[in-house]
Assembly symmetry: C2
Homo-oligomer: 80 residues x 2
């Protein structure tokens, strides 16, 4: 059974770079990867906050959130 | 031929978490992973700086540096 990995982003250039390189490098035989664009649906922002996301891009892996560089804070995404 | 991935860390708890989860999740069939402990050898700090590392843990992938969460700045590592 694959481990779930969730990549949260908001379409920003830093997000796209992280998606194209870090997410792309994950082992898809072991990880089931879900991509969530928090800017497209406000309901996804609160779900991301509950998961511990403070800024995007961020990767949820093994129950922990890993913030990768800094594209935008969730507050910025809410305001945008 | 595998793509080179370099993980820079300083043994901090945030670093260890990133190593055990993010680095562990990389596809080892496609990436050749090198782990560099910048705290063990001061010469490695300047090499990391030249690669664009500002803080650890950080992952060099496809020529770009991805800072993962925040464990310590390279300046802290220098002073430590």
């Amino acid at each position: 059974m694959k481990t779930k990995a969730i990549f949260y982003h908001a379409g920003c250039p830093v997000c796209i770079s992280a998606e194209q390189q870090v997410v792309e490098a994950l082992d898809k035989n072991r990880y089931e990867i879900e991509i969530i664009h928090v800017g497209e649906d406000k309901a996804k922002i609160s779900a991301a906050e509950q998961a511990g996301v403070k800024s995007v891009p961020a990767l949820l892996l093994g129950g922990n959130i890993f913030h990768i560089n800094f594209g935008a804070s969730l507050d910025d995404v809410k305001g945008g």
